[in-house]
Amino acid sequence: MQVSSSLRESLITGGKTVGDVSEDICRQVEGKPTKLWWMAFGVSLVLLGFGVYTMSMTLWNGIGMWGLNKTVGWAWDITNFVWWVGIGHAGTLISAILLLFRQKWRMSINRAAEAMTIFAVICAATFPLIHMGRLWLGFYWALPLPNAFGSLWVNFNSPLLWDVFAISTYFTVSLVFWYIGLIPDFAVIRDRAVRMGNKTRATIYNALSFGWQGGAKTWMRYESVALILAGLSTPLVLSVHTIVSMDFATSVVPGWHTTIFPPYFVAGAIFSGFAMVLTLLLITRKVFKLEDYITIYHVELMNIIIIVTGSIVGIAYITEFFIAWYGQVPAEQYAFINRMFGPYWWAYWCMMTCNVISPQLFWFKKIRTSLVSTFVLSIVVNIGMWFERFVIIVSSLHRDYLPSSWSMFYPTMYDVGEYVLTFGFFFAAFLLFAKFFPVINMAEVKSIIKSSSEKKH
């Protein structure tokens, strides 16, 4: 039984009833896609097509199509990978950690955030795959599979192998968690389809819902599963980016070899994840008219999380510099001075402005509660987070120990193309999701409207 608070504002506005919720959310699924949707989908497909072309060229001719060189062995590829993985953090954080903390406000946003997570992780995973010189062998040699090569086994010392496990586990758990959440909502769509006499849709969504009947016992089990999965996902939220950060932290490259990386990367990931959730939801709520479900209050709460994580990130940056000075390791000192004033100074200052300074604007309630400024800042944060990874990867590699090997990195069309590929995929997938799947968790939202809408009466 929900208890309504007289102090808190209600999470769902507009005096929605249970029926309204089903109606509002299912409308997108049942109706025809709008022109805007088609246009967006078309653009996504064009981006995807260009990306597929550049990827094919890279696979056909070799990694040399990119701008990498003998000194800078990773650049856009791994930058994009870490960026997408970071974005993929918000979904699980919202659904798992906030579930455990019983933050009800998450209910309106967790579905979309989780979908975003899944797609972002898929986007992320393309980079470690296509960045391999020999993808056709690497995609299975990097797995600890029994093989006919004698006693040949993977190298468990390698952080890249840890990545393989971390990402695949995270992906699997997120997918299962997301899907289980979808089951009751699929059943709602099915039920409505039966009522409307749309047999095809009824059959499809019945299959998708695994024949969900909504019995009390089923609900009981469903909730236990959700809780267990939340418990399982919670450490994963922290572990994935921790392990990703170890790709760098366990190396000897000055600027990478830093013990602060795990917490700093996790904070950064949540930071960018929330920013991406905001970007997407602000569009979704507008396009699908879900203003009553995703309210300013939601936006504000997410912005607060952005201030917190943004500040952690900022402190981490400063700590790195402090340690570089305090540690008295000349190569590391140089690496950090070079970040600020070297050839990639613009990337560094872009990162600092976007990640450290811009989120501080959210201290102002006006900015925090303005949709326009939130939208702009959410994009700024993601630009900043891309530059953070670029700065870490490229500015550390391009001038490491031996000055004779110092060089620059210049991206080519093919570097850009692969990034575009993931955008194309991400938006196409998100649009398909928004069209065919309920973008808001109806079952959960229904559990809070009663209480939160009571005040109105």
């Binding site: 001719n61 070799g62 990694i63 040399g64 701008g67 990498l68 060189n69 003998k70 000194t71 062995g73 990773w74 470690p128 960045h131 391999m132 010189g133 020999r134 993808l135 062998l137 690497g138 040699w141 990097a142 040949l152 086994w153 993977v154 190298n155 010392n157 390698s158 952080p159 890249l160 192998l161 393989v164 790709d247 366990t250 190396s251 000897v252 490259v253 008295q328 390791v329 000349p330 190569a331 140089y334 001075i337 070079n338 004033f341 590699l397 001038r399 490491d400 120990y401 031996l402 000055p403 004779s404 090997s405 110092w406 060089s407 620059m408």
Partner: protein, 1035 residues
């Protein structure tokens, strides 16, 4: 209804009741056909069809066999996978090197120095190492040609002989033009030709002339000769413009000698001191202890001033010429005088008057008989500038009836090449024996290609009484013919050149030899050794009798102390040399030791001039052009800002701008030979008047393999000091980094997560002496050839993707006062000190690459090698990122069998080029990482040989390619577990009693350090500190 009885006939035969038809009327098949023909049964048909189908499908299934024809009778000494070695001799114009050729299955695949030679002493240089690839040059002539048409030898011989006779009959002049010929038998062949055609004479010229020196010596001693020098005996070396470690006279020999006095140790705390006065920053200048920048127009005056300074000390009369304020010249004079008898002055000038003064100084310093061996004259560089100029004039005036260009290319590499080229059509018979269709050959009527030297028989006398032989290491690939055989043929003698040489040796040297063998045994020994020394030095003494005052006034007239205009100093490129091997991509992709540029031709200018001309040459090699007008001529070249370049001068390399050379080098750069002019009777390699560079604002990018110039004051990379400090403390210059623990500071090696390895068999290690390394780059080419390293071309070098496993890092000093002033540290000084550091896989004991590979493609061997398993590699490049030394190379593209790299990497893209590949080393596929393997194929081969011979591996059984090529002996490789090995002794390795074979060995040599000691990766390569023989530290 009428029933009509119809009759249907089977045919007209039935109607007619043909008996033949009636006979078979009851048979269904009347045709007699195959069935009844006893020769073709149905079974035959089925058999044949079965066979045809099977044969057709079998033929379709099987890949065509391409040119792999097994031996019916295996040649005695060609065993698959067993290499054979043949002593031979590399000669290219005046360059000489006695070599050992490694062949596999009948194909030469590697050249190494011949240690038995007293001249080249086992040394090589980049051009010698690369020459094996010229053998498989696609641009080689396949056979004789008349005009542009292929012809047969018979026809060509017939026509040439007829024309020669015609010219001789008309009393027309016949010339044989060549570079310096070192071969006594070739000279004999030419003599025979001359005796057949009395109007014939032989003209020798050199791409880089030493004629002024010959004349200077003639004026000084009454004999035109070039003496031998012995830098090993020189404790004090002064060079005025002579790049004796790089290109001057006999650089391999000089490098070998020079390195003797640059090797120092705790027990031998002395080394030679070297002053260099020069215009361009040369390899020699980069190795000098004191270097002064002078202009070409000052060169004569600097020598004159030195003469005066020395004469003053010797109490001799001074001369009128001279100049003041030459940095370090007084000091050089003082020390020359103090070291007389063990001092040496060399000068790169081709001006006879300057050389007279140089001889005068050397005479006062008692150098003759000690550091200069005048009685051991060298035969390189006998070219006569005046004779050649006269020849060109004769040709232009149509006074020549016939000319044979013997393996030379004057149309390209002589200053008057253009005139000569124009005049060739006036000559009724023009023949070129060049093995490629070069500029001269393509303008000659007949191309009668000679063999490549690896296919030839020949003999050489590089120095008086020092002989060597060259022998074919492969059957001629094409229908070429030994040029000497051609000459003899045209002179009416049909002899095999092999028997000609052998006979000559029987007549000439066999009797002089003290070996006491029969002739065949003598000959076999000479062939086996490749070299022969006979007789002894003449002991002839030379006393200086030059007219120094005459020389002085000529010098005063020809040189200026304060020339304000721009000057040009021409130099030979270290890679392509004089241009004759320009089509060799190994040399094009060899980074210039100083500029680190590849595949490019440029004008080097000083930092000051760059600012005044407006040239902006950034770190990435992006620059603009200079249009350099010299009198009536002009060249347009991209400008390269070169620290150490004398302000007001422009350095331009010879050897570029070839037009008929094959795809590799065609139209690369500008030809600088036409800029050379005759001055004072010999060719002058500088231009001091009328030089006006103008800035052309067109962008250009020069490909350089190193784009950062300084080592940023990082003493964990380069550890250097000066001799005076070293004398006090052999650990001078060493940096002992400490790691801070809670309460103490400890050595980085003592803290480790790893337990270390136990190498119970061998523990391979390497030591590189930064003090001996001259930076020449021979090791880079040797490594490329040995390990089938792909060449990638200019654009990929600009993309910073060269594949070299071994590189030489070249660092300039900077003027920064403080090592935290990063901005100032990045900029090289105006006249920097230079350090060379060969950098290759360090084979770390705690290799950072090994831990990060997800598929364990790079692992540690039980002998301390960091080994790379190409076919396991999936190409994540994590290992390369995590390599602190950045020595790992990724195959960004497929470099073999790929049209994109056809021109720059022929050894992996053409059938002919592929023959040079080392069959012991895999050609790497795209997408995998590669790096130095410590020549693991050589290690394996050494171990197998030892095993077959049932003995333990000895030190010296395994020699890496870089070590073998290192003329100065800077690289020492060996087993650090073997306490008797050279490396153990050099590094003074002491073993821990508890873990004698542990990877952690105690290194006793105070000079030995590991690069980046503090990160604890524990390399198996040690560097010995660089010690400059300077009086004070340049702190």
């Amino acid at each position: 209804m009428s029933i009509t009885k119809k009759t249907y006939w089977k045919g007209i035969q039935q109607l007619k009741n043909d008996p033949a038809f009636v006979k078979h009327a009851d048979k269904e098949f009347v045709d007699l056909g195959v069935e009844n023909d006893p020769r073709h049964t149905r079974r035959d048909f089925l058999k044949m069809m079965g066979f045809s189908v099977a044969a057709a499908s079998l033929a379709a299934c099987e890949a065509p066999i391409r040119k792999a024809i097994p031996f019916v009778n295996k040649p005695i000494d060609a065993d698959p996978s067993i290499p054979n070695y043949y002593a031979s001799t590399y000669v290219n114009g005046g360059d000489y090197c006695s070599v050992v050729v490694k062949t596999r299955e009948g194909r030469p695949i590697k050249i190494e120095g011949n240690t038995l030679s007293k001249v080249s002493m086992g040394g090589t240089n980049a051009q010698v190492e690369a020459s094996v690839m010229s053998l498989y040059d696609n641009y080689r002539l396949r056979g004789p040609k008349k005009g542009n048409d292929n012809a047969s030898w018979e026809d060509v011989d017939k026509e040439i002989t007829a024309k020669l006779q015609e010219v001789a009959a008309a009393n027309g002049q016949i010339r044989i033009v060549s570079n310096t010929i070192l071969s006594p038998s070739t000279k004999a062949a030419i003599e025979q030709f001359k005796s057949q055609y009395p109007t014939a004479s032989h003209v020798q010229y050199d791409q880089v002339s030493y004629y002024g020196m010959l004349k200077g010596n003639e004026a000084s001693f009454g004999k035109a000769f070039i003496p031998s020098y012995d830098f090993a005996k020189a404790k004090l070396i002064v060079s005025v413009g002579a790049d004796f470690l790089g290109t001057w006279l006999s650089p391999i020999e000089f490098t070998k000698q020079y390195s003797v006095n640059r090797k120092i140790s705790e027990d031998n705390r002395t080394m030679s001191r070297h002053f260099q006065f020069e215009t361009n920053l040369t390899l020699t200048g980069a190795n000098a202890d004191y270097r002064t920048m002078i202009k070409p127009s000052q060169q004569g005056l600097v020598v004159a001033q030195l003469y005066n300074l020395i004469a003053g000390k010797a109490g001799n009369a001074t001369i009128s010429a001279g100049m003041d304020k030459v940095n370090y010249l007084d000091k050089a004079a003082e020390e020359l005088w103090a070291n007389r008898g063990k001092a040496l002055l060399v000068c790169g000038s081709n001006d006879k008057d300057v050389q007279v003064l140089v001889n005068g100084i050397n005479a006062m310093l008692d150098s003759y008989g000690s550091t200069i061996l005048a009685d051991k004259a060298v035969n390189f560089r006998q070219g006569n500038d005046e004779a050649m100029a006269a020849f060109v004039a004769d040709a232009e005036a149509s006074r020549i009836g016939a000319v044979v260009f013997y393996n030379c290319n004057p149309v390209y590499d002589h200053p008057m090449g253009a005139q000569l080229g124009g005049a060739l059509k006036n000559i009724s018979l023009t023949v070129s024996t060049s093995y490629t269709e070069d500029e001269t050959a393509s303008m000659s009527a007949y191309k009668t290609p000679d063999h490549h030297y690896l296919e030839s028989w020949n003999d050489f006398e590089p120095k008086a009484n020092s002989f060597s032989l060259s022998q074919p290491a492969i059957t001629p690939i094409f229908k070429t013919r030994q040029a000497q055989e051609s000459l003899l043929m045209w002179a009416g003698q049909k002899v095999e050149y092999f028997s000609f040489v052998k006979n000559n040796w029987k007549n000439w040297y066999f009797n002089q030899s003290a070996l006491g063998l029969g002739f065949q045994a003598f000959w076999d020994k000479c062939l086996y050794d490749g070299v022969l020394e006979v007789g002894s030095e003449s002991g002839e003494s030379f006393s200086f009798a030059g007219d120094v005052n005459g020389a002085s006034s000529a010098v005063s007239a020809n040189y200026k102390a304060n020339n304000t205009g721009f000057e040009i100093a021409l130099y030979e490129s270290y890679g392509v040399g004089n241009g004759s091997q320009a089509n060799n991509p190994l040399l094009q992709e060899l980074p210039d030791p100083i500029t680190k540029a590849v595949w490019d031709h440029y004008a080097t200018i000083s930092q000051k001039d760059a600012a005044s001309l407006g040239v902006d040459n950034d770190a990435e090699g992006r620059t603009q052009y200079l249009n350099i007008a010299i009198g009536g001529k002009s060249v347009k070249l991209p400008a390269l800002v070169q620290p150490g370049q004398t302000p007001g001068t422009i350095g331009i390399a010879l050897g570029y701008g070839r037009t008929k050379v094959g795809k590799v080098a065609e139209n690369l750069g500008q030809n600088a030979y036409p800029l050379i002019v005759m001055a004072n009777g010999s060719l002058n390699y500088s231009v001091s008047t009328g030089v006006t560079p103008t800035f052309v604002d067109e962008p250009y990018q020069i490909a350089q393999t190193q784009i950062h110039q300084t080592y940023m004051g990082r003493s964990n990379v380069i550890q250097e000091s000066v001799l005076s400090e070293f004398k006090k403390d052999p650990e001078a210059g060493r940096e002992f980094t400490k790691i801070t623990k809670w309460e103490e500071k400890v050595d980085p090696g003592t803290i480790s997560m790893w337990k270390g390895h136990d190498y119970n068999n061998h523990h391979w290690g390497m030591s590189i002496d930064l003090n001996s390394c001259t930076g020449c780059g021979a090791c880079i080419v040797a490594c490329n050839v040995e390990n089938n390293v792909a060449l990638v071309g200019k654009q990929e070098v600009i993309n910073r993707r060269e594949m070299h496993w071994l590189r030489i890092d070249r660092y300039y000093s900077s003027d920064a006062a403080d090592i935290s002033d990063y901005e100032a540290l990045e900029h090289a000084s105006e006249n920097p000190e230079v350090v060379f550091q060969p950098m290759l896989c360090q084979h770390c004991n705690n290799a950072p690459c090994e831990t990060v590979c997800p598929v364990a493609a790079t692992t540690h061997s039980t002998e301390g090698l960091n080994q790379m398993t190409y076919n396991r590699c999936i190409g994540t490049r994590y290992c390369a990122n995590n390599c602190p030394y950045k020595v790992r190379r990724f195959n960004w593209f497929k470099y073999h069998d790929n049209q994109q790299f056809y021109e720059v990497n022929p050894s992996m893209n053409t059938d002919l080029g592929r023959m040079v590949l080392n069959p012991d080393v895999t050609v790497r596929s795209r997408g995998v990482m590669e790096k130095c393997s410590f020549c693991v194929q050589r290690i394996q081969s050494g171990k197998l040989t030892a095993k077959r011979e049932k003995r333990k591996l000895k030190d010296g059984d395994v020699v890496t390619a870089c070590q073998a090529s290192c003329t100065s002996g800077a690289i020492v490789f060996g087993d650090m577990n073997d306490s008797e090995s050279q490396i153990s002794k050099l590094l003074q390795i002491t073993r821990d009693e508890k873990r004698p074979n542990s990877s952690d060995k105690q290194i006793g040599n105070p000079r030995a350090y590991r690069v980046l000691e503090e990160i604890g990766v524990k390399p198996n390569i040690f560097y010995l500190t660089k010690i400059k023989n300077k009086d004070v530290t340049n702190a």
